[in-house]
Amino acid sequence: MINKTCPTVAEAVADIPDGATVMVGGFGASGSPIELLHALIDHGARELTVINNNTGNGEVGLAALIGNGQVRKMICSFPRSSQSKVFPKLYREGKIELEIVPQGTLAERIRVAGAGIPAFYTPTTVGTVLAEGKEVREFDGRQYVLEPWLKADFALIKCEVADRLGNLTYNKTARNFSPLMCMAATTTIVQARKLVARGGIDPESVITPGIFVNRIVEVSEPVHEDTLIAAERSYP
């Protein structure tokens, strides 16, 4: 019987090795898998390459993982925001690497990695410094830049509802990059607010089909990054 559920977040992330590439779902605070991130801090894997749109906020979740010195390199579109302090400090000290990828290119590079497409052409960045060193080619009289797929060893994802087969739904704009990351990672680990019986999700409304998911942990009352920051919390 297929049963992808896992009893604890600790067990779910236990085999992430040093040096792994890890995609982390979420756009800013919405959709950030805080419990899985904190489990990864407890687990302690280091030298990670992390892919997320941002670099976390305050001193919890992704920012705490970075602050704990576990991240060698960030791949993201927007590494600073009003409440991000940890990454900017380490970056200015030369203690963390950064690869900047435009948001839409980041999304599509992740999607095609899951779709078996090694590269595609996009108009984004043509004529800018971010296109330097990249192949530029003309189609139908317009210039485009070649961009490669972006894969990961693991993805850490927060969803709303899951079943034991790994079918997922999300809540509102917390969806963002998560369905794409589920496709692009070798091992996709999901924290679900609610685990339902097989058949408990309408087949028409499944956003991530179970084929893209490997492990599911129920975290029925997830903390929200913004709530933790408002309370000036830090982790560990």
């Binding site: 948001q103 839409g104 290119t105 999304a107 996009t122 800018t128 704009t173 794409l180 956003i207």
Partner: protein, 214 residues
Amino acid sequence: MSTGWTREQMAARAAQDIPDGSYVNLGIGIPELVAKFVPEGREFIYHTENGMLGMGPPPADDERDLDLMNAGKKYVTALPGASYFHHADSFSMIRGGHIDVCVLGTMQVSANGDIANWSTGAPDAIPAVGGAMDLVQGVKNIFVITQHTTRDGEPKLIEKCAYPLTGVGVVSRIFTDLAVVDITPKGFQVVELAPGIGFDEVQQKTGTAILPPT
């Protein structure tokens, strides 16, 4: 010298140039104000690149949904007829030319429509591009709302951008505190002057030649 248009008036003026039924993406800052000035009888549908069409105004503080944010990471609402989608679909809308109008702030715009609004290129700056480069390449009409000059009085409409570019030749129209300016094959072209503003003042505060209203 007159003070020209206020921030709200610039936003209201830009809103006048957005046709009924447009799909619109609003950048952070003054562009966000456009939503307050939708002309009578028109309906716009707002896209936010983190995955929603049909974005509504900010909620009351006690009605926030922590999972409902816009691309500026501010809490928003969803109007009837809204839809949620993932980032690849959201940027397909942008890159694929399905969004009608994007209104952006900027640091510099050049006479050929280049825009520089993501980085000063300073050595200690942390680069952060977000969706800006996708938007300027993909959206059908790129509108810019900006003060005509910097706080220090330096022109923002110039011959060639000094800052790193966001996109090349992408801007179609600029709404400043002094004028509405089009990018034409001949360069900047004043379409309309703010009340009480003379063309000479606009030329003086522009970093290159600008054509007077016809």
